[in-house]
Symmetry: C2
């Protein structure tokens, strides 16, 4: 696949059917986002759920009901065509993993773009914290915890976390760096004993590959964007559409130029 | 009026009709909040408006539709009785300023508690920035600007700001301190020329007393919680209820112990 020169060009390639691979590790430094599309009837509950659980679900942008176009800063893009791959649930059952959702879009659909850990992975590497480049093969292990999210209306479920094992002398630095990015998943939610999160065997993650725990490393756990992918289908809404793991929406802006953090009028 | 020893005691005094004065300057350090109550049909638009305009409208807590009880951290309180004074609008017209809203509560009402500048006024004073103690007589001047908020559904309108004139050598410190409190109104949105915000005469605020601008001081402008009190009635919803200026909801928790900033389960 042609290597894109800008987020806009990447979105054009995706919309033209010429890019269907992961966006992880692509155009590093640009804000990438998880996607969740829900019926308008569930939109208040989900927005409230995100507000109550900002670490797993940091809201970057929400579309108007029925309008597939997201507008944030200089980014204007049609959510039906500008992610490389999606997952579609109907009444809680996964029914498709298409590369375009024109056929699944509904007139009452509301799209949510949520920050993801790609937001700070580059910053961690720049700070000398050895985080593997996020290709699908290097995705972090992901665990369902015993910690409940704060429920909202019909939505509830466990907090999901990702884990990175870091050398003890780099743990504090990793906390400092990631804490600067609330539009990623922010600072870790737990450091150390996986058992405290109800993780019986850290070598058997619920998603992703088993971790290598080198001597001298400490497990560091961050809230994970998989959380809504468990919570939303469990509500058995008529439909829910999300991104496919690693296949994200890419905004024009840099992670350090968050347009949502200002009082400037939206473009 | 008896001086309350705790937020819970203050809320009890208010509910018993024994406290109807401002909460500004009372129990300093505890999180105080602006209130907005809207019909469920407007709740998604308003929550989205708050998300898109987090500086004027930092969300602390949202109630379930129809349930007047707010629960956050150790705070459990009935919004109908636990603010000293309210303002009630019907279809855009102010109809009452009661001390209790039992008669105005509806089965579809959703309550929003939003952070306010009292969150950081104590911290500013502790840092040596001379902010007058917020009694009604010392409220800051408030201006409607030419800067639009980011609209959401039916909700739109101008950003409202408060102004404090500070000595030049303390402006940076004021920015540093208030930036730490996104559950207040965060860092200033403008420093210097009021004309840049469309304020024709800084000596004639839209609300509050005219400011004294001493030589050597710089006007510093923060997003203001009056913003939704203009935006919501303009939508001509069937009803909107807010706090009365200076008469806020007081949470149990300290401003530095924000329960919404953690992944802990809600109590």
């Amino acid at each position: 696949m042609t290597s894109p020169t800008s987020p806009r060009r990447l979105r054009e390639l995706i919309a033209a059917g010429r890019w269907n691979g992961p966006t992880a590790g692509v155009l590093e430094g640009h804000q990438q986002a998880n996607l969740a599309i829900v019926p308008q009837a569930l939109a208040f509950d989900f927005l409230l759920f995100c507000n109550r659980n900002p670490k797993p679900c940091p809201v970057l942008a929400v579309t108007e009901p029925g309008d597939p176009v997201v507008r944030l800063g200089s980014t204007t893009a049609d959510l039906r065509h500008t992610l490389p791959r999606y997952r579609v649930w109907q009444r809680g059952t996964l029914v498709a993993e298409p590369t375009d959702i024109a056929d699944y879009w509904r007139s009452d659909a509301v799209g949510f773009l949520l920050g993801c850990s790609h937001t700070w992975e580059g910053a961690l590497r720049d700070a000398g914290v050895p985080v593997p480049r996020a290709a699908e093969s290097a995705a972090p292990p992901v665990y369902v915890t015993n910690r409940p999210t704060r429920p909202a209306g019909r939505l509830s479920g466990p907090l999901v976390v990702s884990m990175r094992a870091l050398p003890g002398h780099l743990v504090a630095r990793a906390v400092e760096v990631t804490a600067r990015y609330p539009t990623g998943h922010g600072a870790p939610i737990h450091i150390g004993d996986p058992g405290e999160l109800g993780i019986a065997d850290v070598h058997q993650p619920d998603f992703g590959p088993p971790p290598k725990l080198e001597p001298g490393t400490v497990p560091v756990f961050w809230a994970c964007g998989v959380t809504p992918q468990l919570v939303l289908p469990a509500a058995e809404a008529e439909y829910v559409i999300t991104h496919f793991a690693g296949h994200m929406f890419v905004f024009d802006h840099h992670v350090d130029a968050d347009p949502t953090a200002t009082c400037e009028p939206a473009n």
